[in-house]
Symmetry: C2
Subunit: 242 residues, 2 copies
C-alpha cells in the first residue's frame, strides 16, 4: 500500500508535482480554487491533506505564513514537510519558526516549472536545503535523484538565494522590461536576440506571485538589481549619455 | 573565368565573407593587419582591391569614412560597392555622399557573424538596403538567396536601424551589464537563465568597435535604451524601490 502525501496548493506547480509523484504516493490535494484532481490527486480538505505522513506546500511564498498557521494543528507528529518555493531563506525560517518541534522540515526549490517541465522532468534539477537536520534533507535528495532522476544541489538557503537573486531575479527584471516594450522585432533578429526572447518567453506566463516571491522575498534580490542597474548605467555612460 | 571581388577589411567578418564567397569570386583582400589569406583570398594593396568590379567594405563602421576617401580614386567606373555594417543609415549616407556618381551602391547587413555562422550560413539571414537604385539591391538580394541560400529582408536603412536598435542594441546593453557581473551562477540555473547566458555568450567576443557601431552609429539606439531603462525602473518601482 502506497504512502499518503498531502499537497497543499493545486495550482500550476501543485499539479506538476502531483503528476510526477503520483506513481509513488496516494496524493491528497487541497486548494480552495481547485475542482479537478486530474487523475493524479484526490481533492480534499486542509485537515486531511495536512495529516499525511509527507506534506508538500505548493502555495505562493506570500501565502506560506497563513498556510502554516492553518495546517499546524492537523500535522501528524513526525510528519515530513517540504516547500517548493522559488526562494529559500524566508520559507525555511517560517517553517522552522512555525512548525511544532517534532515535525521534520526540508526546503526544496525545483529549478523547473510547468513550461520547462512540460516534456518530463528527468534530467532537470532541484535545490534541496537543510532546515531541520541533515538526515531528512539527504533522504529527500536521494529520492529526487533515484526516483525522479533529478540532478540535486544540496545547498544552504542563503547560498540558494544568492544565486537565485541573479538567476531568477535578473532574468525576470529583464524580461518584464522587454515585455513592456512589445511588440518586439521578429524579422531581422540575430541568434543572440532570439535566445534573449526565448528566455523572456519562458517566464512571461509566471504569475505575479512568482515574480513577487523572486524579487521581494529574496534578501539578496535588491542588491543584485542595484548592481545590474549601476553596471548598465556605466555601459550607457561609456557612450556619453545617461 | 571568375569575376574579381575586392574585400576591404580582412578581420573576423572579412574572413567569414571570403570563405563563403570564394566559390564564386577571385577575392583580393586588403587589410594592413592581415598576413594570411587563409586560402580564400589573395592579400593585396588597397588600390588593387578597390579596382575590382565588386568591392565589399568589411571595415568597422567608424572606419568607413576614411576608407571611402582612400579607395575612392581607385574605384572602377560602374563598380558595385557593398558594405556589411551592423547599422545602415549612417553607412548608406556616407557611401552615397562620398562615392563618385557612376559607382553603384548597396547596403547590406548579414544577421550573423563568425560565431553564429560557424557551421555554415545557409538558412541564416541578411538585410539588403537600396542606396542607389532598386536594381542593384534586387540583384544582390537574388544572389544572396540563390547562391548563398540566405533569407533576405529588403528594407530601408531607417527600418533596419529601428529594429536593430532593439535587436542588437538591447542585447548588447544587457550582455555588457551581465558580463560586468561575472562570475555568474552556473549551478542552480533555470532554463530561462541558460538562454539569457547563451545570448550573452554569442556577443561577448564582439569587438568594442562592433558595440560602438551598434550603440553610437544607430540614430535610434539612444531612444530605445532610454525606454528600456524607464521600463526596468518602473518594474523596480512597482516593488517599492529605486
Amino acid at each position: 500500500m502506497r504512502e499518503k502525501l498531502g499537497l497543499i496548493g493545486f495550482g500550476a506547480f501543485g499539479r506538476l508535482t502531483a503528476r510526477h509523484l503520483s506513481p509513488w504516493f496516494d496524493i491528497y490535494a487541497h486548494d480552495p480554487a481547485a475542482n479537478d484532481g486530474e487523475g493524479h490527486a484526490t481533492l480534499t480538505d486542509l485537515a486531511t491533506a495536512a495529516a499525511c505522513p509527507t506534506v508538500i506546500l505548493a502555495v505562493p511564498v506570500e501565502a506560506l505564513e497563513a498556510t502554516l498557521a492553518a495546517m499546524g494543528p492537523h500535522l501528524a507528529p513526525g510528519a515530513l514537510v517540504l516547500d517548493v518555493g522559488s526562494v529559500k531563506v524566508k520559507p525555511a525560517r517560517l517553517m522552522d519558526d512555525r512548525l511544532a518541534p517534532g515535525v521534520r522540515v526540508v526546503g526544496t526549490h525545483p529549478l523547473f516549472g510547468p513550461q520547462s517541465g512540460k516534456a518530463g522532468i528527468a534530467g532537470l534539477r532541484i535545490a534541496v536545503c537543510v532546515v531541520r537536520g541533515d538526515r531528512d534533507a539527504r533522504r529527500v535528495a536521494a529520492f529526487c535523484r533515484k526516483a525522479l532522476k533529478l540532478g540535486v544541489f544540496e545547498v544552504t538557503p542563503e547560498d540558494h538565494d544568492r544565486e537565485a537573486a541573479v538567476v531568477q531575479g535578473l532574468t525576470h527584471l529583464i524580461a518584464r522590461a522587454l515585455l513592456a516594450m512589445e511588440p518586439l522585432p521578429t524579422r531581422m533578429t540575430t541568434a543572440s536576440f532570439d535566445r534573449l526572447m526565448e528566455a523572456v518567453d519562458m517566464v512571461r506566463h509566471d504569475s505575479p506571485a512568482v515574480f513577487r516571491a523572486i524579487e521581494r522575498d529574496n534578501p539578496f534580490a535588491a542588491e543584485v538589481r542595484e548592481r545590474f542597474f549601476t553596471l548598465a548605467d556605466q555601459a550607457r555612460g561609456a557612450l556619453g549619455e545617461g
